[in-house]
């Protein structure tokens, strides 16, 4: 993986009328990297991808692909391939015609085209389906054709717009690995839009979390998990979602005091201004049950859900926490549990700005 940037976005702005859809987006994607744009619907991730493809015009900023300025360049001159959520296969063309559409437009010689088709068909396992029409294919096969149509072009970048969201759960997990493997084999540069943080975490080298047209945070998947910059990122990355509890920094500056007398304070492992209003974030998987030293809090179990390998506990008010335990438990609703969190795993966010402290 070389470090030269394949895609450079500098101060991208996009307006729809008076609606500010993308606000000052800065993003550099090195060649060969797999980048996931993730966020809730309406956060601008698809708009950003479509701007990269040239399907939307940006209102301001600089967009470069492979060093060339792309502002205002029509899609056909950008040499990027896009896989759509609906696959967008041409219904009146066979699989083969779908695959070769871009090559025919480029005027690639017949012989070369045939070789490329065979190669791609082998790569994505469609050899015996070349003469079928899209309507005769299953969802997974259509997905592969859409991928093949992108691969055959050897583009400067692959753009994926939620390509897996129309597949069933099992196939989605499978295609996740396949797309990533394909990316590595081709040494491609990929931008992948998804609303599913698990897809983003498992597939990408670099995750960009967006919200309301702004990049909230970007970094490696584990970096975002370990060091979320804002409460939003903390809540978005990780499943089940992080527990958030409003609190205040205690007089010693090194622990939090909760507003309820029945909840004990929690050491935070750092020094902050005493009395500051904060939000405490605890990941369900970092909460340990049954602390021996008695340092934890005593809570009552409300719900126990087991998947076999994992058990999800939900505790009762006044402190409703989701807790993930590996393995199984004898605990039943109504039981009292001792819970504690190592101070290294306590996330503290400012109550007002919601930024990590």
């Amino acid at each position: 993986m070389s470090a030269e940037p394949q895609i450079e976005l500098i101060g991208i702005d996009k307006y729809y009328g008076s609606f500010h859809a993308l606000k000052d987006i800065n993003l550099t994607i090195p060649k060969g990297q797999f980048v996931a744009l993730v966020g809730p619907s309406g956060c601008g991730k698809s708009t950003l991808l479509r701007s990269l493809a040239g399907l939307e015009n940006i209102s301001g900023g600089t967009m470069k692909i492979a060093g060339a300025l792309m502002n205002g360049v029509p899609p056909r001159k950008r040499d990027v391939a896009m896989v759509f959520q609906s696959y967008a296969l041409y219904p009146h063309m066979t699989v083969e015609q779908n695959l070769t559409y871009s090559l025919r437009l480029k005027g690639v010689p017949k012989e070369e085209m045939r070789r490329a088709t065979e190669e791609v068909a082998r790569t994505i396992g469609l050899d015996n389906l070349l003469h079928r029409y899209p309507r005769e294919l299953s969802g997974g096969q259509r997905q592969r054709v859409a991928m093949g149509r992108a691969i055959i072009r050897h583009p400067k970048a692959f753009l994926f717009d939620e390509p897996l969201s129309n597949l069933d759960a099992a196939l989605r997990v499978h295609m996740r690995k396949e797309i990533r493997a394909l990316h590595d084999r081709l040494g491609a540069t990929s931008v992948y839009v998804t609303h599913d943080q698990i897809e983003a975490m498992t597939m990408a080298d670099h995750v960009v979390v967006m919200r309301d047209g702004v990049i909230e945070q970007q970094g490696s998947p584990l970096d975002l998990y370990d060091r979320p910059a804002t409460r939003f990122v903390a809540g978005f990355i990780g499943s089940p979602a992080m527990n958030f509890i409003p609190a205040r920094i205690g007089p010693d500056g090194a622990s939090t005091v909760f507003d309820r007398p029945d909840i004990r304070s929690l050491p935070i492992g750092k020094k902050l201004d005493p009395g500051r209003e904060v939000i405490v974030g605890l990941r369900p998987e970092h909460i340990t049950v049954g602390a021996a030293d008695g340092a934890g809090m005593t809570l009552k179990v409300a719900v126990v859900e087991s998947t076999g390998s994992l058990t999800y506990l939900t505790t009762e008010e006044p402190l409703q926490l989701t807790i993930v335990m590996t393995g199984r438990t004898e605990l039943a609703p109504g039981d009292a549990v001792q819970v504690s969190v190592p101070s290294a795993h306590v996330h503290i966010f400012d109550a007002e700005t919601e930024r990590a402290l």
């Binding site: 493809a53 399907l55 967008a88 009146h92 437009l105 072009r153």
Partner: protein, 275 residues
Amino acid sequence: MTRTYTPWFLLAVALGLAAIYLFPVYWMYVTSVKSGSEIFSNPPTFWPADPNVGVFGDVWARRAMPTYLWNSVVIAGGVTAITVVLGTGCAYVLARYRNVWIDIGLFCVLMLQVLPASVMVTPLFVGFNQIGLLNYPRTAVVLAAAAKAMPFFVVLVRATFMSVPRELEESALVDGNSRVGAFFSIVLPLARNGILVCAILTFMSAFGEYIYSKSIIQSPVLQPASVGLSGFLGPNSTDWNSIMAYSAIYVTPILAIFVILQRRIVAGLTSGALK
């Protein structure tokens, strides 16, 4: 009423209505082969006592029907060509862009549909006269009738274009095609069925066009069959079985086309023709 009865009941209603609608067509064919006295006999006969099939050949030759029908075909063909070429482009734009001006445009297009030909014909006649179009009366009729047929065509074809997913076009753009190229290689083939059906309907209605032709075309050799038919209506006598024979010759090809293409026409109008 139980569920098993409903379809039979509805079917009976449908058949009854169809019979009422189709009776004039039946009556046209029957009357054309009746003798003069049988036509006016009371009570009427529903099956001719002595069918005279010779009347068709007689009317065909006597009334110069080949000329009239050819003129009808020319006019209908011209109307269809203009409507399809201009209307398809118009419908595409109206289908793909959404803003207030498009809504205003669509409203205006629909308003045009409201104006009846009999209201339009006088101003059109004056206008055509001033620019000298009346020297080419068939061209003038084609233009006038195409303008009349356009709104209907645009509204229907617009719906067809709206059923073609936008992503297909975007995909073609990213795949390296231009806007125009994507239209011709992706959108147009997918909308083909709908356009074809609307073109056929336009042709059929233009084939029976009367008001503009009657008003604008003076020379009998340039008149279409619809105007030729009115030549039978003399002040003193009305030759009913010739009129009916003429009508039968005129209508039968259209009916035949409609029957043959009926399934496709209905399918093309109702479905998106896609999947």
